[in-house]
Symmetry: C2
Subunit: 413 residues, 2 copies
């Protein structure tokens, strides 16, 4: 029997009524001849309620107890979904993480999936069960404690099940109807993509297009799981949503798939650092230790043995970065004349696997920004992405200009 994995996020199962609506979608796939593994999140708001209690009680909590508490929301939804399916005369049962058992590392709060045994659940399918409802986001550690996979972990649960069971597809039902060329709130020309390559999705996800958890995309890419993102709140035909897939499955694509942005960035510059071997390690080691997520790094040309070092990080980490740098200076590990922080910058990026074979993307991007008189402060590039830091006040304008310049409102082919 062919198998599908269907994942429903918190807003899709927020009430018994919505659970019923989701169950009807599952019922349709069962009628189409599929066995289905359903992965559910906690009802919207429930995880926040649980996290709130934990924080109220214990700001520096034991992550094992945190996991035991917050995983309970998914257990509730799994049972309710199984009951709803049974009411529709569909043989279903719920599975909590430890019942599968979904084995993870012991890294509580951010555990990695290590193994999903399939024998037990497959035996139930063979006995006539049509739907296994699995509580997402959770697993069990080698010590027998409940673990969680981090926020958004239910996406990763879904992809891992699809990989373990060789599912035909993994459908992620959410409150948006797919992946867009850019944020539709910034330009109404934003177009839903029918398909997007794993690599592109990874860049977009990590750049703040929060449709899928990054790890779920990595996992899907590694195991070649066809991943579809679609809406719980609309009628979906076979072309609904966005298929995240291997680039070979995308016949025609634009050179640039989308324009991503990250609003609240900061650009920090260490003025006149001694340019000696090991200086980068001496700077970025302490920043990493301080929990600063350094993104872009630019080192200027050295003059007379000194250089300027520029990096970007989220704006709410500036204080932490400054303290780490001053401390390192006090300890004599680094030496600099001054430290500038520009906290009014945003990052805008164009992403597309087509860049690999098309020259001129960078030139076109820079020209579009110049035509709007937007000054570029920092540039970084990867194989399929070009990112720039610009003044925050120009962010929306830049996204619109780039969307126009690469004609993303038009489908390829």
């Amino acid at each position: 029997m062919p198998l599908l994995v269907m994942k429903f996020g918190g807003t899709s199962v927020a009430t018994p009524d919505r659970i019923r609506r989701a169950a009807k979608r599952v019922g349709r796939e069962v009628a189409n001849g599929y066995d289905v593994i359903v992965i559910v999140s906690a009802m919207a708001g429930k995880t926040n309620e649980l996290v709130g209690w934990v924080n109220e009680i214990s700001p520096f909590y034991d992550a094992r107890e945190y996991d035991a508490v917050v995983s309970s929301g998914e257990n509730v939804t799994a049972g309710l979904m199984a009951l709803t399916l049974q009411e529709m005369d569909i043989p279903a049962r719920s599975w909590q993480g430890w019942q599968v058992p979904l084995k993870t590392s012991s890294a509580h709060g951010a555990a990695r999936i290590e193994e999903i045994p399939t024998d037990n659940m497959n035996a139930k399918f063979a006995q006539g069960m049509k739907v296994a409802v699995v509580a997402g986001f959770q697993g069990i550690s080698p010590e027998g404690r409940i673990t969680t996979l981090g926020r958004g972990g239910s996406d990763t649960t879904a992809v891992a099940f699809a990989a373990a069971f060789g599912a035909e597809r993994c459908d992620i039902y959410t409150d948006v109807d797919g992946v867009y060329t850019t944020d539709p709130r910034i330009t109404r020309k934003a177009r839903k993509l029918d398909r997007i390559a794993f690599e592109e999705m990874l860049e977009l996800a990590s750049l703040g297009a929060k449709v899928l958890q990054t790890r779920s995309v990595e996992l899907a890419m590694r195991y070649k799981v066809k991943l579809r993102v679609l809406s719980s709140f609309e009628d979906n035909d076979e072309h609904a949503g966005t298929l995240v897939c291997d680039e070979e499955e995308i016949m025609e694509s634009n050179v640039v798939a989308g324009v991503a942005y990250s609003r609240d960035e900061a650009k920090m510059t260490l003025i006149s650092v001694a340019d000696r071997p090991g200086i980068a390690a001496a700077i970025f080691g302490p920043l990493a230790d301080a929990g600063v997520n350094v993104d872009m790094i630019v080192q200027n040309i050295s003059e007379e043995g000194r250089t300027d070092m520029t990096f970007s990080c989220p704006v709410d980490q500036v204080k932490r970065a400054e303290r780490a740098m001053q401390d390192a200076k006090t300890r004599g590990e680094i030496n600099f004349h001054d430290l500038y922080a520009d906290t009014e910058v945003s990052k805008v990026s164009v992403v597309g696997i087509g860049m690999r074979s098309h020259a001129g993307v960078a030139a076109k991007m820079f020209k579009a920004l110049r035509d709007e008189n937007i000054n570029i402060k920092v540039i970084t590039t990867s194989e399929i992405k070009i990112s720039v830091l610009i003044d925050r006040k120009y962010m929306e304008l830049a996204v619109q200009a780039l969307h126009d310049a690469f004609e993303l409102e038009k489908a390829a082919g």
Copy 2:
């Protein structure tokens, strides 16, 4: 290390603040040199919320999924309690039913505890853990599914742990400060008992004094677990609450320990039933099958081969009882002229192990009721209890008269 079991009900853990208050009580016992097993209920209201969702989705639910859903409330409290204790620098961790594992029968929704292995938890105590926080009300079936023990099941969990671990005492913290000679809402003369025998508590519990789940008292009696009921909301000294214990531990006691009542009873009479061997089975078999909880049974003297059969049941089961009797008549299994239902009766009982050695309790009871002109409709007796059915309008009066007649406002000795 001596060990205590402490159980906190839903109102005692309703908020993070109340959990903190409960944790302080635990901390005091740890300071007294005890290892402690804490059993927690769900935060007040949470189980009702979960049951509400289940009923909304599926009126005739799969009890296995019901159990998976409703057990989650206790898991949340267990984690939060462990975190609270850790904040107080007390080494603590939470255990869900399946982690212990608390092994039960497969009777979902009303499972019986079969085994509580102690090795694993004792090893943690040996390693320095001071408090094990256990989610009450739940266990795991031989099939690996989550089971629940029925409403009030956390009391039973607590007593079972006390028995398995040989605890010095099992303290049940609740929203009343002990067991009273009768309901203080009916007479202000009601007096808190310092001690009560298991047998008396069983009769009082099953008669509607809902301080403890009946099964927890049965279990405590079988394993001689000293059970103390006391308030979460008051400062307790060593004489606080009520100790439920073996009768040998009660030096002096009144002949009658308390007066119990059950307000909403019905008295049903089958008129002119053929008096033949097996007639009782023919009547009470179908009633049991229909889920009618028959309490008192009285059979009148037979005349000319026919008799009247009277029984009592909760008033909300009258319709069900009538249907069961008419159906049995239609099937030709029983024969009766008429079926009367008196739905305006209450049951009042006096309970006390002292009755065994004291004659005249019944006579004193009947005289007290006669003096108030209260007519007795049905009488049943057991070794330590005399119960009567009376018109509901006299119930409070009867309780007050009996409390006075047996001078229950005065302590024995």
